[in-house]
Symmetry: C2
């Protein structure tokens, strides 16, 4: 695909102002030349800022929005105030109108999810969107969803998340048959919630939807990379994601302290400097920045609000790759190929739908 990827950016979203957003875009552009940007936000702020980024300016358009959604606004409030006239809404509208391939915002997650759902609407056959995280593991990156779009999920929604997550894995990892596991408290058949057991039943009788169902996985299977896609409901997924972030920071801090413990360890750390720098980059949360909203008629990436230009660069890189690999088409393929329409009991399906 040689077409230019057009990225719509909520330039006012995030905690650190629009400068780091534009800076990140310029860095991302250096890595992926055939990109163009639409920046949504206050013209009087963005105009002068764009002058500072000479490489970025020729491929960028500024679209004025008066209104900015605050980071602490409740979703319902944000919808009332910001529908139609905020930088967040306008950034989504660009995707809906077909003038951009993907939208990105570092703003308020709840507000972004509410607006994205209202503006882009869920894909037919998907009742609720999910947020997927790209999770680094001992094997390679994997997908974990839902990490907090909605609380609770029934069996059908877990099946939907499996189809959506598998499509994202196919788009990002160039793997035509990613392996999907359901997060549970044990690998024995008897354990877990009814919704998870029922989802397991639906997934195990189905096949050929662009993924292979592995079975149950436990919390420690995430870090091992046992499967390519870990499926769970949003409350558990969010707790797992944040607990892992906390643990990684904790162990990182232990390591730093150990290497400062005495004179010899400080010399040792100096000698091992290059390797430790590589480790630091590997653990840098900015290098894997961005939750992907899945299940809507359009690709939306949520960047961490508190990140810097490096974080925006990697979130924009993610946005580019998802648009380039035609994520939405891959989801559509997955939905058409899944032989058991989630909403229909298995016994009522005369035969698998042709792909």
């Amino acid at each position: 695909m040689t077409d230019r990827i057009r990225i719509s950016v909520d330039a006012m979203g995030g905690d650190n102002g629009p400068r780091i957003v534009l800076h990140g875009a310029q860095l991302a552009l250096r890595e992926r030349k055939n990109t163009s940007y639409i920046f949504h936000g206050r013209q009087e702020e963005l105009g002068p800022l764009l002058e500072e980024f000479a490489e970025l300016k020729p491929v960028s358009t500024i679209r004025h929005s008066d209104n900015v959604i605050a980071m602490d606004e409740k979703p319902s409030q944000a919808l009332r105030k910001g529908r139609g006239n905020s930088s967040m809404w306008a950034a989504l509208q660009s995707v809906k109108d077909g003038e951009a391939d993907v939208c990105i915002s570092g703003g308020n997650t709840g507000a972004l999810m509410a607006m994205a759902t209202m503006c882009l609407r869920p894909i037919e056959g998907i009742s609720r969107p999910g947020i997927a995280a790209i999770w680094p593991t001992l094997r390679s990156d994997i997908i974990v969803l839902d990490v907090g779009a909605t609380i609770g999920a029934d069996a059908q929604q877990l099946v939907d998340f499996s189809i959506l997550g598998a499509a994202l894995a196919r788009a990002l990892f160039d793997d035509e048959q990613p392996v999907v596991g359901l997060l549970n408290v044990g690998t024995e058949e008897v354990k877990g919630l009814d919704s998870i057991r029922e989802a397991a039943r639906l997934l195990s009788v189905a096949s050929g939807a662009g993924f292979r169902y592995h079975g149950f996985v436990e919390g420690d299977d995430i870090g091992k990379g046992t499967v390519d896609v870990v499926v769970t409901e949003g409350f558990v997924g969010n707790i797992a994601l944040k607990t892992a972030e906390g643990t990684a920071r904790q162990v990182g801090s232990y390591v730093r302290n150990a290497l400062k413990a005495n004179f010899l360890s400080r010399v040792g750390a100096l000698l091992a400097g290059q390797a430790l720098d590589a480790l630091r980059r590997k653990l840098d949360p900015r290098t894997v920045n961005g939750g992907v909203f899945l299940g809507l008629n359009g690709i939306v990436i949520k960047s961490h609000g508190g990140t810097d230009e490096i974080g925006y660069k990697s979130a924009l890189g993610l946005a580019y790759e998802m648009a380039r690999s035609r994520l939405i088409d891959k989801i559509d393929e997955g939905l058409r190929q899944f032989p058991v329409k989630p909403a229909t009991p298995v016994e009522n399906q005369p035969e698998a739908k042709p792909a």
Copy 2:
């Protein structure tokens, strides 16, 4: 307290046979002299083994049980087969009969929980027991519960877990007012499940039950040690615990690889050896081995089944400390002091119960 602490041990529980159990007990005895043991299991195996541990023998009794609960047995099956005549049941019975202060088993968690609940019964006022983990954090060890005793918890059960976890914190950490937080997906009032919101309301209007209620905490607050006791239901707690274990192993593996990356880093690792060894001990899962069953009329510790003698030693040390600090009395105090009897709506309480 100078009385001898009497520990009842299911010597047949665990994946690695009774030798490591006895070995762990001898190591634990060296650290805490005034201990005595009752080992439950097959006399023909335990008798000759005990001869190998000369220090242990004088303070130990062997109690014969024919039956051993298998690690993969379902709880219901285990209850049918092992009630009354298994090493696991007999180990619990010793606590019930008052001949031991605490029971420990490395066997099947589900079976142990089912048997412990049937043998020791829940404390009056507590509807369901929980499993608490001692979790190392950047600040100090904290308590997280429930990590998998039961799936799902209503508001009252979350309040119960708060009282139980706070009592454990008072027993282990010598802190008379430990701080309790409810695990949630956000710190804003609007987020989370109804059960968690209702528990928050009950906890915030109550006070003086031997703990202070902090509010909501998120997944990354666990590793930071934001509060002394993190309360959640068993599914989420189990996923959080195992995800953290997986992440710690993952980061540890990154560190090892970084320090083997090149010649300089290998020399560096050699120089920093002592500090890195200390780090390794800190991250060793065997040094914090043992889930505590809370809410029963007796103290029960579940050791990891796959651990070795070092793991058993630390689990037995935990058992000793809990018995010594009169955990059951502290739970009883907590229940009596909690001004709102969890089962009763707040508005029907004329006034706080005297402690």
